[in-house]
């Protein structure tokens, strides 16, 4: 992306050419089902407008943005004015937003070009992009010597696949418990979940409001820094958006990690972790140490309670947020004799299995007589988990952990046991509960040839330190493997 930016600036190619090349790539890889909606005409129009802006700017007239002319994909959870927005749910059939989400509006202002809307787990609930009304997305990677289709992770699986398969220079994702970082790890790309409040949630279809954050998914750390800069910023329309300046994230990449204190949470070393993953994590420590950082063991004692806490808090908030889909104002309506019947028929038909399950769990833990035992208890655990991080950050500047407990698995696996699927987010959920920024950096390949990511977690609003450490990790890892789909195409 940064390369394309420089190429455009030098006049090596135009945004029209760049955009056309990506539309061609996108059409050639439709088998991955990464997109719910493609918007090629809109993309070409935006590219033309960008080229015009650049031309008049070169004459000293117009203004070019930080992402001028760069074609990107948007997770289909961001409302885009006049462009179908589905959240990959049947219940939003035909929904054409009459407004633009703040994050996408910021991106268009920066000059980016939209290629289309990417597939996700319905309402961002899932870790494999298999819970989509529009069918599963396929990971462009394959195990070596095995052509079985794999999941891209989730919920931002369409975005991850699109970036990994070179269909887009970058894509937006949203992360509630790991939905940016885990698919980034599965697809061998960089995924950034900023601090809660860094990006406005206005116009993003809500899942769990106290956890949801938008972030960029890109091929390099520099691209992630650049794209986050274009997405972030205070927005009076989101009362939880942070009223503080957006730093120059890209500038942070230039600083060395010499003397940086990197914490290794011992509780993240879990039973059943593969020797490969442990070796990669150790390698990550060695890399940062070699770059001048100091490695310090830390303890986050309540880590093991993060997942069960999350699976009370997130469904509770979801059950409340998804009450709005009632067949009256937008999307699907299934008629019934009474108002109540119409609601029940619409929601019964409109929601998929996982969404239904989570709404029911959420309704149950919030229902009379159970609120204290579940929801209040979970909110107390959240205080303890948050406190663990705060105490760790008294001693260290950043934490290094694996991103996900496994590499990409086959489509169909883990689908009959919800809890097995939930375990995908074991390393990403704790930082989400504490609102902290996290990034997944591709660090190596497993023995069977699949990408594995390492995660860095930083203090609230200290994405700069996170990016700085991520850049050092990226440099040392020198990850240049390509997905099967790409290497095949080039042969």
């Amino acid at each position: 992306m940064a390369q394309a930016r420089d190429g455009l600036a030098k006049g090596d190619f135009t945004s029209l050419e760049l955009t056309q090349a990506h539309i061609t790539a996108l059409e050639a890889t439709r088998e991955l089902n990464a997109f719910v909606t493609e918007t090629p005409e809109r993309a070409m129009k935006a590219a033309k407008a960008s080229d015009d802006r650049r031309a008049s700017n070169n004459g000293g007239g117009g203004e070019t943005g930080s992402m001028e002319g760069l074609p990107i994909a948007i997770k289909d959870l961001f409302c885009t004015e006049g462009v179908l927005t589905t959240a990959s749910s049947h219940i939003l059939d035909g929904f054409m937003p009459q407004y633009e989400s703040t994050v996408t509006a910021n991106l268009w202002r920066s000059g980016s070009v939209m290629l289309g809307k990417t597939n996700l787990d319905e309402f961002a609930m899932g870790s494999a992009t298999v819970n989509s009304y529009y069918g599963p997305t396929v990971n462009p990677w394959r195990r070596s010597g095995d052509d079985k289709p794999l999941v891209p992770g989730g919920s931002s699986g369409g975005s991850a696949a699109a970036v990994a398969a070179r269909m887009a220079l970058g894509a937006t994702g949203t992360d509630t418990g790991g939905s940016i970082r885990q698919p980034a790890s599965f697809c061998g790309i960089v995924g950034v979940k900023p601090t809660y409040g860094r990006c406005s949630r206005w116009g993003i279809v809500a899942f769990a409001s106290s956890l949801d954050q938008a972030g960029p998914m890109t091929r390099t750390v520099r691209d992630g820094a650049m794209m986050l800069g274009a997405m972030a910023g205070y927005d009076p329309k989101d009362s939880t958006s942070a009223d503080r300046p957006v730093p120059d994230f890209e500038a942070a990449l230039e600083k060395s990690v010499k003397g940086l204190k990197v914490g290794i949470p011992e509780e993240y070393r879990m039973d059943g972790m593969s020797a490969e993953l442990l070796a990669l994590w150790d390698q990550g420590k060695e890399w940062l140490k070699a770059a001048g950082a100091e490695i310090i063991p830390v303890s986050l004692p309540h880590s093991k309670y993060a997942l069960p806490t999350y699976y009370i808090v997130a469904p509770a908030e979801a059950s409340s947020n998804l009450a709005r889909y009632d067949g009256v104002r937008y999307g699907l309506r299934v008629e019934g004799a009474t108002m109540q019947e119409m609601y029940e028929n619409t929601r019964g038909e409109g929601f998929g299995d996982e969404v239904t399950r989570r709404i029911l769990i959420g309704t149950y833990v919030l229902s009379a007589g159970y609120y204290d035992a579940y929801y209040l208890k979970a909110q107390k655990l959240r205080t303890l988990i948050s406190r663990d991080f705060r105490e760790a950050f008294d001693k260290v500047d950043v934490l290094l952990t694996p991103t996900a407990p496994s590499t990409a698995f086959a489509i169909g696996e883990k689908m009959d046991d919800p809890i097995a699927m939930y375990l995908n987010d074991v390393f990403t959920v704790p930082a989400s509960l504490a609102g902290l920024p996290g990034i997944s950096v591709p660090a190596g390949l497993s023995g069977d040839g699949l990408p594995e990511g390492l995660q860095l977690i930083a203090r609230p609003f200290d994405e700069e330190t996170m990016f700085r450490a991520a850049r050092a990790l990226e440099e040392a890892a020198a990850f240049d493997a390509e997905p099967a789909l790409i290497s095949r195409a080039q042969r």
Binding site: G94, F95, M96, Q98, T195, Y196, G197, S210, P236, S239, T240, A242, D243, P308, T309, Y311, I312, S319, D326, G327, V328, R329, Y330, G331, L332, R333, E335, A337, T338, M339, Q340, E341, M342, E344, N345, R347, E349, F351, T356, R357, I359, L360, I361, T363, Y364, S367, Y374, K377, A378, K380, R382, T383, L384, S386, P418, I419, A434, G435, P460, F461
Partner: protein, 95 residues
């Protein structure tokens, strides 16, 4: 309390989701398993722990109490599955 079929049916009615009778049993078993799993939080003593109220240390902002939006009826109605004379249309509520 065991999460039985009747409980799931009651919760589903509260959540306004129609669930076919034959699916209740399976859902009850799944929910029972999930609820049993989250119950491990009871191991932790939280008597003196306050519940988290805000994720990051940010005070909610105040703004002047004035209208900032509006006059966009057609936009609001644009996606309605059924509308009539500038209103959302719903099944009859009163007899």
């Amino acid at each position: 309390m065991a999460l039985d079929k009747a409980t799931v049916a009651r919760i589903a009615a509260l959540a306004r989701i129609r669930i076919p009778e034959e699916e209740l049993e399976g859902l009850a078993a799944e929910m029972e398993k999930i609820i049993g799993w989250v119950k491990q939080l009871d191991e932790v003593n939280t008597d003196d722990v306050p519940p988290m109220a805000s994720v990051v240390d940010v005070d909610l902002p105040w703004r002047d109490d004035k209208v900032t939006d509006g006059d966009c009826r057609d936009k609001v109605l644009a996606n309605a599955p059924e509308k009539a004379e500038g209103f959302f249309a719903v099944p009859k509520v009163l007899e």
